[in-house]
């Protein structure tokens, strides 16, 4: 990607990346791509988020689940680190707290595979600027 030369270019680029991210989220199997975001701020990493993320990637690969695992910043729930947000296709994102290896298993087996909610969900309690 080269330099962005003007505001018009920047706006065009915004559209493009939005589409790209959407495409990535829907990919070839829109009903199967799962998006996992791991909170990787200092607080998360200190509580083991790196391990959690690594484990997520490994497990999802092993289970051959089409998923995108990315890092993100602090979600604010420091009392429940590591925190992970899972978005199943066509569903609202769900945030899980205290996600250790065992919890990763549980999330994959119950929520990602079967859509069953499990204990430890953190209800999102804020509005965003887009609301």
């Amino acid at each position: 990607m080269g330099k962005i030369k003007s505001l018009a270019d920047l706006r065009k680029m915004k559209e493009e990346v939005q589409t790209k991210i959407k495409l990535r989220e829907t990919s070839n199997h829109p009903e199967q791509v799962v998006q996992v975001k791991v909170g990787m701020a200092t607080c998360g990493i200190a509580s083991g988020a790196k391990e959690t993320m690594k484990f997520f990637i490994e497990e999802l690969e092993q289970e051959a689940i089409d998923a995108v695992v990315t890092q993100t910043g602090c979600m604010g729930y420091c009392y429940a680190e590591p925190t992970v947000e899972v978005t199943l296709p066509k569903k609202d994102p769900v945030v899980f707290g205290h996600v250790d290896k065992e919890k990763v298993h549980e999330i994959i087996n119950s929520y990602i595979k079967r859509g069953e909610l499990i204990d430890g969900i953190i209800p999102v309690n804020f509005k965003t600027i887009d609301d």
Binding site: V17, T72, G73, C78, A80, L117, D119, F126
Partner: protein, 597 residues
């Protein structure tokens, strides 16, 4: 996929658990089984909903019905009526206090969402190391808009009109600061981002830099455009390695895209950003000290004026803004001053990020509109006090702030209201204390911090705070005298009146606010020789009740200092002159013969 048709989410936050949410879950499951719905309905325990005032909460998915103050006895009705017959139970719905109507807001139940994330808008949403994700969420649009469609004066006006005030503690109007710096003529000016976060317990700046570094970069460039600077410097503590790394990545990516560097977006505007590392000295958050530290000098404040806006880094006009302040800028430009100023109170606009810490259940980072009450923050968002204990006080404004009490719980939080009650906004640390916290010890704790962090330049802060600390220490040791309280006050007033910088001028605040709000606790220490919270060890006294003691010798054998004497099967005694109040005897005694007074 299992086809649960319905989920019942029950709040498993500490507050709700105390109100029998476990029992509610059992009952719900019981009635689900009774109706043979195990394969259709699942009950899930969740984290705190942040609406503890009305807990326990049960939320029904997919229709988002929100039940409040649910009791175990309500389980049957929820299952029978709502789950089986599809009819919500009106009496359990939230009643809007204004309209007095039941609310069953299925669109997301926003009424309980007390937070609005403006500065934290991208934290936890985007991958901070991928500029595309930031651009997809309007990143750099505000910079483009300023450079292309607005004059610097117009952009400054937008910031001024928004009512944004400095989030680092001082609360100085940001737009005005920019205007002043713009109006100073000089061939070289600087934009400095103050990322020397240092309040105990506060970490919002770190989180923003780690989660959304581009917002800060974008805002610095906007500021540069407005004041006429082509160089930005981020003064960041070296103890924030992840934030530093993410900032570096973000700066590199922005440079690759031409969003930093020469001729940004073809407008002829140049702006570059460099990092400067601090060693984590609290006083370097004070802008003149920060600038001296960046210049390689001892990090100590100098007298203002001249303000950095006139003579700052290398003697050039310098605009210093805190991270959170900057993070608000792109939103103000994009959504307009009117939108921003619609949030908040009359003199404090927008939102404020707080770091909740201490004896509170949901320790974490929150962002609320100015004007939210302490009660809402502590109970509705923070999930209340840990272990069901009694709220005693909350320290806002870090070591420069003051302790607020129950009386202050319903004060809308903004700059002026906090000042009026003897505390301050500060950078947004909020430390909650419960009944077990001794307020003299709290004041001592903060003084200890100030002592460590004082630069030592001016007498009142260097020596005065030391003397304040010593008096407090004396009181917690049980050696205080009645006149010490007066002495603390007198000395505090002089320190506030004479110290050189904000750190010294505010350092006695924790002392003064604890004295004014908890004078009885001070008196208990100096007059009665007691620490009501039981925290001051020297004021504790362990005794053995003769009639309860069986002479088992367990305490005698475990006392680390040999303060206990006594014959086997005879009552034992504690020699108070030797006792170090470690409490081992108290823990070991199987007959409750050791008492604590």
């Amino acid at each position: 996929m299992t086809d649960y048709k319905m989920h019942l989410l029950i709040c498993g936050g500490t507050g709700c658990k105390a109100s029998e949410s476990d029992e509610i879950k059992n009952r719900l499951n019981q009635f689900i089984e009774k109706h043979g719905l195990e394969d259709d309905v699942q009950v899930v325990m969740t984290g705190c909903f942040g609406f503890c005032e009305k807990g326990p909460i049960v939320k029904v998915l997919p229709d988002n019905t929100f039940y409040v103050q649910v009791k175990p006895s309500d389980a049957e009705e929820i299952i029978k009526e709502h789950v089986v017959k599809g009819r919500p139970v009106p009496r359990l719905l939230y009643t809007d206090p204004k309209s007095e109507k039941h609310v069953s807001d299925s669109k997301g139940m926003d009424f309980y969402k007390k937070q609005i994330r403006v500065a934290l808008r991208n934290c936890g949403f985007i991958n901070p190391e991928n500029i595309d994700e930031c651009i997809a969420r309007d990143g750099y649009q505000a910079l483009g808009k300023c450079l292309t469609e607005m004059t610097p004066e117009e952009a400054i006006k937008e910031v001024k009109d928004s009512g944004l005030r400095g989030r680092g503690g001082g609360g100085f109007p940001t737009g005005l600061k920019w205007e002043i710096t713009r109006n100073v003529e000089n061939d070289q000016k600087y934009v400095v981002c103050n990322a020397d976060e240092g309040d105990p317990g506060a970490f919002m700046d770190r989180s923003i830099l780690e989660g959304d570094p581009h917002s800060v970069i974008e805002a610095m460039a906007i500021c540069g455009y407005c004041i006429g600077a082509d160089t930005g410097l981020v003064y960041i503590r070296a103890e924030y390695p992840l934030a530093i790394q993410r900032l570096k990545v973000a700066i590199r990516q922005a440079e690759e895209y031409g969003l930093l560097g020469e001729d940004i977006l073809g407008t002829g505007f140049n702006f570059r950003i460099e990092l400067r590392y601090g060693a984590g000295a609290f006083v370097c958050g004070e802008e003149t000290a920060l600038i001296h530290s960046m210049e390689g000098l001892r990090g100590e404040p100098t007298f203002k004026p001249p303000f950095p806006s006139v003579s700052g880094y290398m003697g050039k006009p310098t605009n210093v803004n805190n991270v959170e302040t900057l993070a608000n800028i792109p939103v103000i430009i994009n959504k307009g001053a009117a939108w921003f100023s619609s949030i908040g109170t009359e003199k404090s606009k927008g939102t404020k990020v707080f770091a909740l810490a201490g004896k509170i259940n949901n320790v974490g980072l929150i962002e609320v509109p100015m004007g939210t009450t302490l009660r809402e923050v502590i109970y509705d968002i923070g999930g209340g006090i840990k272990d069901g204990k009694e709220f005693k006080a909350v320290q806002t404004g870090g070591p420069s702030g003051g302790c607020l009490t129950k009386e202050h719980l319903d004060i809308p939080i903004d700059y002026d209201n906090l000042l009026a009650v003897g505390s301050m906004m500060g950078s947004g640390g909020m430390i909650v204390m419960d009944e077990d916290d001794c307020m003299v010890s709290i004041a001592k704790f903060y003084l200890d911090f100030t002592l460590e962090e004082s630069c030592g330049k001016c007498t009142p802060c260097r020596v005065g705070n030391k003397r304040l600390y010593e008096i407090l220490d004396k009181i917690t040791q049980g050696k205080g005298e009645a006149e010490d309280i007066e002495r603390l006050k007198e000395l505090s007033f002089v320190i506030k009146d004479t110290a050189l910088c904000g750190l010294g001028q505010t350092s006695p605040n924790p002392v003064l606010s604890t004295i004014s709000n908890f004078e009885n606790e001070y008196l208990a220490h100096v007059v009665d020789g007691k620490c009501p919270a039981g925290q001051c060890k020297s004021l504790l006294r362990y005794d053995i009740l003769e009639e309860m003691c069986t002479g088992c010798t367990l305490c005698f054998r475990n006392c680390p200092v040999g303060a206990i004497t006594g014959e086997r099967r005879q009552p034992h005694y504690i020699d108070q002159s030797l006792c170090i109040k470690c409490g081992v005897c108290y823990e070991k005694c199987k007959f409750n013969a050791v008492i604590l007074t």
